[in-house]
């Protein structure tokens, strides 16, 4: 199973891929994750990978091999959709963060991204920020997105929740669990 998590530096994509990796590990799979640290993180386009199976060699996933692509932002979904397999699934957090190239007028933010992607791929969307805000903590948006992705990836719901509980800060367990459930049922 090949999973790719993309977003904008600071959105919490790293934590999301770590939770997926730990959940797969708890099922007894061989697991590899590839992360991005350092300068590349500073508000830039960020990509992480999770692979699991009987035996995993390469820590990254390449074009044409992704089963589930989790995009935390629309433009990033567009940028990396070509990594999907023919029958792969695209999970999109429906939000728009303009890159500096757009802000200063050097480029235009493409319109109709979700429509264009839906024409070629199976796309499932959630407005993670809106759900998170309704739960009273805008920072749990990645648990909302994770919940939606978890349904596509499989594993028992409890397997996800037990890893989630161990991974997020203790004070935020309840709200992260609520966010996961909201995404899972979305």
């Amino acid at each position: 199973m090949n999973i790719m998590v993309v977003g904008v530096g600071g959105q919490g994509t790293l934590l999301t891929s770590r939770i997926i990796g730990r959940t797969a590990l708890a099922q007894g799979f061989d697991v590899k994750l590839s992360e991005v640290h350092g300068m590349a993180q500073r508000g830039g386009s960020v990509v992480t990978f999770v692979r699991y199976g009987e035996r995993v060699y390469e820590p990254v996933v390449e074009e044409g091999e992704v089963d589930v692509l989790i995009a935390f932002e629309r433009l990033e979904a567009l940028r990396y959709a070509h990594f999907l397999k023919k029958d792969g699934t695209l999970i999109v957090n429906d939000c728009r963060i303009e890159p500096m190239t757009v802000v200063i007028g050097a480029a235009e933010y493409p319109e109709g991204i979700l429509e264009a992607l839906s024409a070629e791929h199976t796309v499932r969307t959630v407005d993670g920020s809106a759900v998170a805000r309704s739960l009273g903590n805008s920072r749990v948006l990645n648990s909302v997105v994770l919940g939606l992705a978890a349904r596509e990836i499989g594993f028992e719901k409890d397997a996800w929740l037990s890893v989630l509980r161990e991974t997020v800060p203790p004070k935020t367990v309840a709200v992260n669990e609520a966010a996961f459930n909201a995404g899972y049922g979305a």
């Binding site: 500073r42 990254v60 390449e62 070509h82 500096m100």
Partner: protein
């Protein structure tokens, strides 16, 4: 059963150091090596520290080794350049307790200024180079590295790459070895590198390398995985994983030690296969040696010397086919940017307003080179900003550099920048140097340094006062100004550009991402008052965007309330107010 964990490569290296019985570790932060020291600091049995630079770190580790304990120094590839002075001579002295230098290369240049290959340095310094291919090996081979270091009386380079350092895979944990301290004995011929001793030690170095070369063919870290003999691969590091992914049935000679090479084993392997490909990222280090022995192998005829490799890259060469199903869509680039509330933005906005050029340095503030700030003209290496500016002044004179400043971070200044400033004082430069003091080593993820008052272990310590340091070396004018006081910065810059006094301006404000801060304010844009002039957009804050009607909007979740944009709005449309 032993505990199994999923671990980052750097976490596994730290675990390996712990299990190997390391007692002393010294390092300077540098992506992708930084987390090694942070993980190692969590083991109370190991003394760990941040040194001001990599040369100091390696010398500290060497001193610990001479005294008889196992020691480690960690750095990124370009850090080894700084440490190369001790490196080449420690190769001669050898060790007492085991000494391992972890060096993290950055193929693909995710967060560096070049793409150099540490294996070349290992060869030229006659130091063994060991290279793991996943987290389990990172831990296991680190123990092997210490055994080789002590058995062959040599420092060992443990080479990783970004992909290994920042990938996670499963590791079975072991126990810490009980390594008794070795006895230190005075030995001038071994430890005092004056000509008479060094001439003798050079002979020892050659003999040691010959012995290790001969032994390398039977060391278990070099592994022959027998398979289809039509095509064989010689590979090491993460590239091994790509070979296993792309050609699972091929014969593979997987090298755990890439210097010196196991010549007899390689000759036997090449003879056993119809065709052999050397699959190695960056320089043809293995390939050129193998070819020099008269063996027919392929390598860089097929693959680039640039960037990271992948399984698909190999598959394409083997099958001529591409795995991709869909074509990439055109999407505007999203390069890294300075964070909302970053004090560097404030400093650069003033330099931009004054149309000044900056000789830049290594840190987040290198991002001041790109639009819309576009202030930094040069970035070479740690500490270089000040010396480059000095060179310009000596070449073209004071008038030429009136519109120039050097910009350098606090940690970078203490790393090697202070040496360049001493040179400016000594050799009478009149220039403006700005220390962008954000109270941390920012880009690598907030490490302490000699001016923060905290050690790597989190203990309180003396904090070097940067302004007093500058005065002590003789800088005649040293100013401390808040990085967000744009009016005071502008006045100071104009004054120092106008006269002929060497000036250091320390622009102070903590990194916006430093923990423990509260941001009580937020900036709000009033669409009614906004004249759509775009002045606030030209400071390049990611919290400010243009709406469909051309007025601006400030994202209250992203905004840290620094208020810089408020000062750049002539129409009073932006207001900083309590959250």
């Amino acid at each position: 059963m032993s505990e199994k964990k999923i671990m980052l490569g750097n976490d596994a290296i730290a675990r390996g150091a712990y299990e190997a019985g390391v007692k002393v570790s010294s390092a300077y932060p540098g992506t992708p090596s930084t987390e090694i020291s942070e993980f190692l600091a969590t083991y109370p049995e190991v003394y760990t520290e941040w040194a001001p630079n990599e040369k100091v770190a390696l010398e500290v580790a060497a001193g610990a080794s001479y005294s008889g304990v196992r020691a480690l120094a960690a750095m990124k590839h370009v850090g080894l350049n700084v440490a190369s002075d001790p490196l080449y001579s420690i190769a001669y002295t050898g060790v007492n307790g085991g000494l391992v230098i972890v060096v993290a290369d950055d193929p693909g240049i995710a967060s560096s200024q070049n793409e150099q290959d540490t294996r070349m340095i290992g060869r030229s310094a006659h130091i063994p180079v060991i290279e793991p291919s996943d987290s389990q090996e990172a831990k296991d081979l680190l123990l092997t590295a210490f055994e080789i270091s002590e058995e062959y009386d040599t420092p060992v380079i443990f080479r990783t790459t970004t992909k290994l350092a920042h990938s996670q895979s499963i590791v079975t944990l072991g126990k810490r070895c009980d390594v008794p301290d070795k006895v230190y004995e005075r030995d001038v011929k071994k430890y005092v590198m004056m000509p008479a001793s060094a001439i003798g030690r050079h002979k020892v170095v050659e003999a040691r390398e010959d012995r290790l070369s001969a032994d390398a063919s039977s060391l278990p870290l070099n592994r022959w995985e027998k398979g289809d003999t039509k095509l064989g691969f010689i590979t090491s590091g993460v590239a091994y994983q790509y070979v296993k992914e792309a050609a699972p049935t091929a014969s593979v000679l997987k090298l755990g030690m890439v210097n010196p090479l196991p010549r007899a084993l390689i000759e036997e392997f090449v003879a056993s296969c119809d065709e052999v490909i050397v699959f190695e990222e960056l320089e043809p280090v293995i390939e050129e040696q193998v070819k020099s022995w008269g063996l027919a192998v392929k390598g860089k005829e097929l693959f680039t010397k640039q960037g990271e490799y992948s399984a698909n890259m190999l598959k394409k060469v083997l099958t001529g086919k591409d795995a991709a199903v869909f074509a990439p869509a055109a999407a505007p680039a999203r390069p890294p940017i300075l964070c909302p509330g970053c004090p560097h933005r404030s400093v650069f906005s003033v330099l931009k307003k004054l149309k000044m050029h900056a000789a830049g340095d290594i840190g987040c503030y290198t991002l001041g080179a790109v639009a819309p700030l576009s202030v930094i003209d040069t970035t070479v290496c740690m500490g270089s900003s000040i010396s480059l500016l000095h060179g310009m002044e000596k070449a073209k004179g004071r008038e030429y550099i009136r519109s120039w400043v050097a910009t350098i971070g606090d940690s970078t200044f203490l790393h090697t920048g202070v040496n360049s400033l001493i040179n400016m004082v000594y050799n009478k430069s009149a220039a403006t140097v700005m220390i962008l003091d954000n109270r941390t080593t920012g880009m690598t993820g907030h490490q302490e340094h000699a001016a923060t008052g905290k050690t790597l272990k989190g203990e309180e310590t003396h904090a070097i006062d940067l302004s007093e340091l500058c005065r002590a070396i003789g800088v005649p004018r040293v100013l401390r100004i808040s990085a967000f006081d744009t009016a005071a910065l502008e006045a100071a810059l104009c004054e120092s550009a106008g006269d002929d006094v060497l000036t250091v301006i320390i622009a102070e404000a903590p990194c916006a991402l430093l923990k423990g801060q509260s941001f009580p304010n937020v900036c709000v844009a009033d669409a009614e008052k906004c004249k759509r002039c775009g002045a606030c957009l030209r400071i390049g804050c990611p919290a400010i965007t243009k709406t469909a009607d051309g007025t601006v909007r400030i994202d209250d979740a992203m905004c840290n309330g620094c208020g810089l944009c408020e000062g750049y709005c002539k129409f009073g449309a932006i207001e900083k107010r309590p959250r």
